[in-house]
């Protein structure tokens, strides 16, 4: 092979043979990837294009035709006027409900899971691994098995139908994956650090706040990304544990688009759909590799 020629002074070409830019292989690879990418992008394009058209234009054309008369009226209507049931104040209500649900749910679930993971990694006690195993196995139980008893529990403590009830539910079902994430991260931190702090007399919470928390910032970011997208996208828990006034955005979106009354306004529907999808999409495109890392770590080790 040409790599074995070690003396460049000979004037012989060496190193791997440069690839032709338009080899048949490259055309195949890029061609396939571009084709597949277009397929994946198509629904996004259709959403945006449809939401910018007026209804007459939609009725005349097809979903892929680019908008000719660009109008932002469907967006305004979806945000502020679209009706679900008796409320006609648009998706804005659902949006703010989702914000009110997502923020406390993310905060509470991450606090609980990070402390859990820390206890499991550094302060094992008798039975702690058993509870952890139950937690991980429990992550595979279909939600449908547990939803009704949880309704009863929430009703007993007076939180059924309120946002805080839903916060508890999200914290519960986010716990397995998040605890796993934090436990694995804290386990990977050298134990000497922890032992040194203990010798110096630091307590459970002292070590958590002064040593572990500052070191775990990257994993906190991963957990936040994971939870914000997961909770924002949730539908099942929202529809069960909240009332129409506090429905999250996904539930309200579904009610707007799939309502049987009235004429279907496809442009308003698509504008509403984009509005609902925009929060996780923005998070996805900003966080980039961290998002991938979050799901991969959560998934591979799960």
């Amino acid at each position: 092979m040409s790599e074995t020629v070690s003396d460049p002074g000979l004037g012989e070409p060496f190193g791997p043979k440069p690839r032709k830019r338009f080899s048949r292989r490259n055309i195949f690879i890029y061609g396939t990837l571009i084709f597949v990418s277009l397929y994946y992008l198509l629904p996004l394009y259709v959403m945006v294009a449809t939401s910018l058209k007026g209804m007459p234009e939609i009725r005349l054309g097809n979903v892929f035709a680019p908008p000719v008369d660009i109008t932002f009226a469907p967006w305004v209507k979806a945000w502020a006027e679209a009706c679900t049931g008796l409320n006609c104040d648009g998706l804005s209500r659902g949006f703010w409900n989702s914000v009110r649900i997502t923020v406390p749910s993310v905060v509470v679930s991450i606090i609980i899971a990070s402390v859990n993971g820390y206890a499991l990694a550094n302060w094992r006690f008798k039975g702690s691994d058993t509870f952890f195993t139950i937690l991980i196995v429990g992550a595979f139980i279909p939600y449908q098995v547990m939803i009704y008893p949880i309704v009863i529990v929430l009703r007993e403590i007076g939180l059924y139908g309120s946002i805080w009830g839903l916060v508890i539910v999200h914290s519960i079902f986010g716990m397995p994956i998040l605890t796993l994430l934090f436990r694995n991260y804290f386990t990977s931190i050298p134990e000497e650090l922890f032992k040194a702090a203990r010798v110096d007399g630091a307590s459970f919470w002292g070590i958590y706040f002064k040593i572990m928390l500052p070191m775990a910032l990257p994993i906190f970011v991963v957990a936040i990304i994971l939870q914000v997208t997961g909770i924002w996208n949730d539908f099942l828990f929202g529809v069960i544990y909240t009332k129409p006034d506090t429905y999250p955005m996904t539930v309200q979106l579904n009610n707007i688009v799939n309502s049987v009354q009235g004429v279907k306004e496809y442009n308003v529907n698509m504008a509403a759909t984009i509005l609902t999808g925009i929060v996780p999409l923005v998070i996805y495109f900003i966080s980039g590799k961290l998002f991938v890392r979050g799901i991969a770590e959560g998934a591979v080790k799960g």
């Binding site: 690879i29 990837l33 597949v36 990418s37 994946y40 629904p43 996004l44 259709v46 959403m47 449809t50 939609i58 054309g61 097809n62 979903v63 892929f64 859990n116 820390y118 499991l120 302060w123 094992r124 006690f125 008798k126 702690s128 691994d129 509870f131 952890f132 139950i134 937690l135 196995v137 139980i141 279909p142 939600y143 449908q144 098995v145 547990m146 939803i147 008893p149 949880i150 716990m175 459970f204 996208n233 539908f235 099942l236 069960i240 996904t250 799939n258 529907n269 698509m270 759909t273 609902t276 999808g277 996780p280 999409l281 996805y284 998002f291 991938v292 799901i295 991969a296 591979v300 799960g302």
Partner: protein
């Protein structure tokens, strides 16, 4: 250990135990307690409210003689098998393509993964629109001159589940591709070099050397896909609402409808217990193989 030491044992590590209370409650009350509760009440004839009046296996007999449930199961099987095969196949092929030291790898990966950030509700609604026979794909192909072309999966009871499948794959394959890509990258480069020196073709290296070495990744993907399949609910609610008629019903929707709309709790409990059983059949052998012999998690 003497009996006198017991209290000390209990108080040791107290902060950690207090901190773990939410986890312990979740594990015992929700995951164990609530599941057992549901299984227990599936043997009663609870209607609007749960009550302890046992009827044996009546609920299950009714369940398996209800047409809607049988259709739900059939749909789940079709959707499940197709999702498994296509997710793994497409996921691996795309990962192998992205692995060819190409330019713009990050761009391609971002494009293939972005649907995963979207909710099933959004996914379902977009594909409901794209597959709309009046304005969507069918209309375009007809406009090209194929007047009799028919592709209206969401309005045809025979193929509606494949319409749902298209949307589900669009949303989920990106994740599998990412896992596969990580798996391919995790394989020692020396193996590639050895294969090249032996003159083995690239595709043969993938099929006979790389894939067998990626067993853990395939199993992880399998578990993720499988647990997602059983849960499929939002997608169907958004895209078809279970229709046309009851042609695209799925078990998770059956459970929800019977519990919260038809006020027939017993049926809902029986159906959800069947779902639990299905998952157990898939998960228990896997957990046994993975963790059974070695004692670590």
């Amino acid at each position: 250990m003497s009996a006198g030491k017991r209290p000390v044992q209990l108080w040791r590590n107290l902060s950690a135990k207090i901190a773990a209370i939410p986890m312990i409650l979740t594990a015992l009350v929700i995951f164990v307690g609530c599941s057992l509760w549901t299984v227990f009440y599936s043997f009663t004839n609870s209607k609007l409210l749960p009550k302890v009046k046992f009827v044996g296996l009546n609920q299950y007999e009714r369940l398996w003689s209800t047409n809607r449930w049988l259709i739900s199961i059939e749909n789940l099987v079709i959707y499940g098998i197709c999702t498994l095969i296509f997710s793994l196949l497409i996921g691996f092929l795309l990962a192998a393509l992205l692995d060819q030291k190409i330019r713009f790898e990050n761009t391609f990966r971002s494009i293939l993964l972005y649907p995963f950030a979207l909710s099933f509700i959004v996914t379902g609604l977009v594909w409901q629109w794209v597959l709309n026979p009046q304005f969507g794909i069918q209309k375009i192909i007809r406009d090209l001159g194929f007047e009799n072309f028919a592709f209206d999966p969401l309005y045809n009871p025979d193929i509606v589940i494949y319409g749902v499948l298209i949307a589900g794959l669009w949303q989920g394959t990106g994740l599998i591709m990412c896992l596969m890509l990580a798996g391919i990258r995790g394989i020692d480069q020396e193996i590639w070099k050895a294969a090249r020196i032996d003159g083995i073709q690239t595709w043969k290296t993938y099929v006979f050397i790389v894939i067998p070495m990626m067993r853990p990744v395939f199993i992880t993907s399998l578990v993720i896909i499988a647990s997602g399949i059983v849960r499929v609910y939002d997608l169907v609610v958004a895209q078809t609402g279970g229709g046309p008629g009851i042609a695209s019903e799925v078990p998770a929707k059956y459970v929800y409808d019977y519990m919260f709309q038809n006020q027939n709790l017993g049926q809902g409990f029986a159906a959800s217990t069947m779902m639990l059983l299905t998952v157990a059949i898939v998960i228990v052998p896997w957990a046994y193989l993975e963790f059974g012999s070695k004692k670590h998690v």
